[in-house]
């Protein structure tokens, strides 16, 4: 029985010693931070700034493509869908395209033919959906969009031919005549300037010709666009689907170069910020060589000392990373708002990277001075030499 008692007493004593050990460890950590507030705050500040800058840069790097792709969609269609052999597209083709696209793009139908003006001059007439064109071809300079039936949008070069004084005019196609009012003019500097645009309803009831072309502006990475092309081809086998290489290749080039520049800049900035943390923290740890010497003189083991300074560094790194991450997301969102007029959405995938990077940098800046100091006798340090 007595052996049992002494055993359990020993256990309790051991666990107490352990508890005191642990609480002493945390007390030292905490007191170190509280007593040397200025230096600790400076180190934490450096860490927070570095983590914030790193977060903002990584966030921007991940998001810049999506943002720029949106800008590039203002170039208009990057996919064209044409009925095979110049035939009209089947009914409901536009709905099928929309169900493939979802919210990833805009589509506009076009029906084209050559009609004659009242003087017998051949002219290209296009039936389309003006509301969709407004979204698709934002560069069109239009004086006034048609809003009623039998109103036409006349290209600036076609205007002197059909309606020099903005007067109503007639167009004929295979014996059918339509009477049109000029709602406004369109100027693009390209083929559109020589054409006349009607609403699809007017166009179909006049000529009976259905749209043969769908122009599609789809957003997404090259792989996503390729998938959309395939889905469209499968959905509408009666049509040829082809990418507008002119736009897609230019876009890919510009995006690639911009992204590479942002990456280079981000690397430089993160490197600088990391070095800033390293020098501040190393200074701090080096500065506390007297603490180190006293602990060692009182019999602390190398493992305990390493553990102490490493724990301190890791705690600092983690705290700095989390605060910096929140700040960095704010910076990225602000840059997005200012520059792209749309906030850069926070990427939480960046957090583990920033966290791991911060802890590695802080550990490094704690371990380096410690391994230097370990070789020195505590007495030498305490004498201040």
């Amino acid at each position: 029985v007595s052996a049992d008692v002494s055993n359990s007493a020993r256990r309790i004593a051991a666990s107490r010693a352990q508890a005191q050990h642990t609480s002493m460890f945390f007390r030292m950590l905490l007191r170190a931070a509280v007593l040397r507030r200025g230096r600790a705050a400076a180190a934490l500040f450096a860490m927070v700034v570095a983590a914030a800058v790193a977060t903002a840069m990584l966030n921007l790097y991940v998001d810049v493509q999506a943002k720029l792709r949106r800008e590039f969609r203002n170039y208009g269609a990057n996919i064209i869908l044409v009925g095979k052999d110049g035939n009209s597209l089947p009914h409901g083709a536009i709905n099928q395209v929309e169900s493939v696209l979802g919210s990833r793009g805009v589509v506009a139908p076009f029906a084209l033919l050559v009609a004659r003006s009242s003087e017998g001059q051949p002219i290209v007439v296009v039936g389309t959906d003006f509301d969709r064109v407004k979204q698709l071809d934002r560069w069109w300079s239009v004086s006034n969009w048609p809003s009623a039936q039998q109103q036409a949008l006349v290209g600036v070069r076609a205007l002197p031919v059909v309606s020099p004084k903005h007067q109503p005019f007639d167009l004929s196609f295979q014996g059918h005549t339509i009477h049109l009012n000029t709602a406004g003019t369109v100027q693009t500097g390209a083929a559109e300037d020589s054409r006349i645009y009607l609403s699809l309803a007017d166009f179909v009831s006049w000529t009976g010709v259905q749209p043969s072309t769908l122009e599609i502006a789809a957003t997404g990475s090259p792989e996503e666009i390729a998938a959309i092309l395939q889905q469209l081809q499968d959905a509408i086998p009666a049509a040829n689907v082809r990418p507008v290489r002119q736009i897609m290749e230019g876009e890919a080039r510009v995006l690639g170069k911009t992204r590479a520049t942002v990456l280079a800049a981000a690397t430089l900035i993160i490197l600088t910020a990391a070095l800033c943390v390293l020098s501040t923290l190393m200074g701090w740890v080096f500065d506390r060589r007297r603490d180190f010497a006293i602990m060692k003189a009182l019999g602390a083991s190398d493992r305990l000392l390493n553990g102490f300074f490493a724990a301190e560094a890791a705690a600092l790194g983690a705290t700095g990373a989390v605060i910096g991450f929140i700040l960095g997301i704010g910076i990225a969102a602000w840059i997005g708002r200012v520059n792209f007029h749309a906030p850069v959405s926070p990427r939480f995938a960046v957090l583990p990277i920033v966290l791991a990077g911060s802890i590695i940098v802080t550990l490094l800046s704690a371990i380096l001075p410690i391994s230097l100091l370990r070789r020195v006798q505590p007495a030498v340090i305490l004498r201040g030499e």
Partner: protein
């Protein structure tokens, strides 16, 4: 004494000086490289945007309406007006000729193609591929290979002086034509040098040297339209004003800005009986894209400047803090606050100048490397930047050391010497 103190401090504390100097050098390197990249990015991206195609189009002033659907010209080919090919080199004589990266004349003509007993009516598009054109003493290469960068050829590009042609890929598949085949084009034997893929209407056409199209049309020197690719400045309200309504100096400012409008205006002046206009799809959007990318890089550069300023301050603060004992000694020997501070500031200036000098050179190399690896072209640093960078380096170093120096001179020498703080 003062100079000796500073000199000895550099001689005896090499490690500390090296650390602080390295931080300043690195900060200046990053700042220089980023400023260089930011000042040049607009021009670089502008050139990349030119791969989307020409942004200006020159047509005859008195032209009849285009009647064209899907690249098939339904207008009688000899109808309408033409530009004169001999006038085209004048494009390089305009005020903004250095901004014009290339031009390509186009002349579509209707031809018949005979092959294997079949006859087909097609469009032959006459153009320049990479033609040597001379204006005055200046010689340059221009044509679709530079203005229409997305055109891809399997086989060989034809020579501009040859009678070789390219066949569009859909047409080639339909006729089963391969590079090296001979076809009869409106009674002329021509060789197919390659298959052209553009993703546009040219895939159903034949593209050949402009001389061949002019010969078939029977109008030597005729050009239907000219695509011009120019580096332009994003359009603003001033660009959209009508030049005719402007007074002298305002007009000069408009004329001498590389807006799409003013370059179009100058093209119109250079080529007789022509009408030049921006292709809005290209010209309008590139301004938007350019502004966004420039803005992004500008903001990133600010971040880089901030980060490097911080790194420099941190290094300086640490370096000064480590020298408390020295300060204590100086003060114990009777040095005033001013004397101590001026020694530290002199050291900081010296470090900043050395670090700034090395950093500027390293930053230049770094910017060049970035330019070469990303844009395949040089990014050069304007020499004007050198004094600016030095001043910034000194200023940032001062600002970074100021707090630490103030603290150091305020120390009680007794405590500082005992190492108690």
């Amino acid at each position: 004494m003062f100079v000796r103190l500073v000199y000895e401090s550099f001689r005896r504390q090499k490690r500390r000086k090296l650390l602080a100097g390295a931080a300043i050098t690195l900060g200046v390197t990053v700042a220089t490289a980023m400023i260089a990249v930011a000042t040049d990015i607009g021009d670089k991206i502008n050139r990349e945007l030119r791969t989307i195609g020409a942004n200006l189009l020159v047509t005859p002033q008195e032209d009849t309406l285009d009647v064209e659907i899907g690249g098939v010209n339904l207008k009688p080919p000899s109808d309408g007006a033409f530009l004169n090919e001999a006038d085209l080199p004048r494009i390089k004589g305009t005020f903004w000729h250095n901004n014009i990266t290339g031009f390509a004349p186009m002349l579509p003509v209707n031809v018949t193609l005979q092959r294997g007993g079949k006859t087909e009516n097609l469009t032959l598009l006459g153009t320049y591929f990479a033609k040597r054109v001379a204006f005055g003493k200046e010689e340059f290469n221009t044509g679709v290979r530079s203005t229409h960068a997305w055109w891809k050829v399997s086989g060989a590009w034809p020579d501009d002086d040859s009678r070789d042609v390219l066949v569009g890929e859909r047409l080639a598949a339909r006729l089963s034509v391969k590079p090296g085949d001979e076809v009869i084009l409106s009674g002329r034997n021509v060789r197919v040098s390659g298959i052209l893929s553009t993703g546009g209407s040219e895939d159903d056409q034949i593209v050949g040297p402009i001389a061949l199209a002019q010969e078939i049309l029977g109008k030597p020197g005729a050009v239907r339209r000219v695509y011009v690719s120019a580096l332009t400045k994003p359009e603003d309200a001033f660009a959209r004003r009508d030049p005719k309504s402007m007074s002298g100096p305002v007009y000069d400012r408009w004329y001498c800005s590389p807006y799409p409008q003013s370059i179009a205006f100058q093209l119109q002046e250079a080529i007789p009986h022509s009408h030049a206009e921006q292709i809005r799809q290209v010209a309008q959007n590139e301004g938007a894209v350019l502004t966004r990318i420039e803005g992004l890089i500008f903001l990133i550069t600010l971040a880089a400047l901030f980060a490097s300023a911080l790194a420099v301050s941190a290094a300086m603060a640490t370096a000064i803090f480590e020298r408390r004992a020295e300060v204590g000694l100086m003060k114990a020997l009777g040095a005033g606050r001013l004397a101590v501070a001026s020694i530290f500031f002199a050291e900081a200036t010296l470090l900043a100048l050395i670090g700034g000098f090395i950093g500027f050179a390293a930053g230049g190399l770094l910017a060049r490397q970035i330019g070469r690896s990303i844009f395949d072209s040089q990014i050069t640093i304007p020499p004007v930047l050198f004094p600016v960078i030095l001043v910034i380096a000194v200023f940032v170093t001062f600002a970074g050391s100021a707090a630490a120096i103030r603290k150091a001179v305020g120390l009680d020498p007794v405590f500082a010497l005992r190492g108690e703080l």
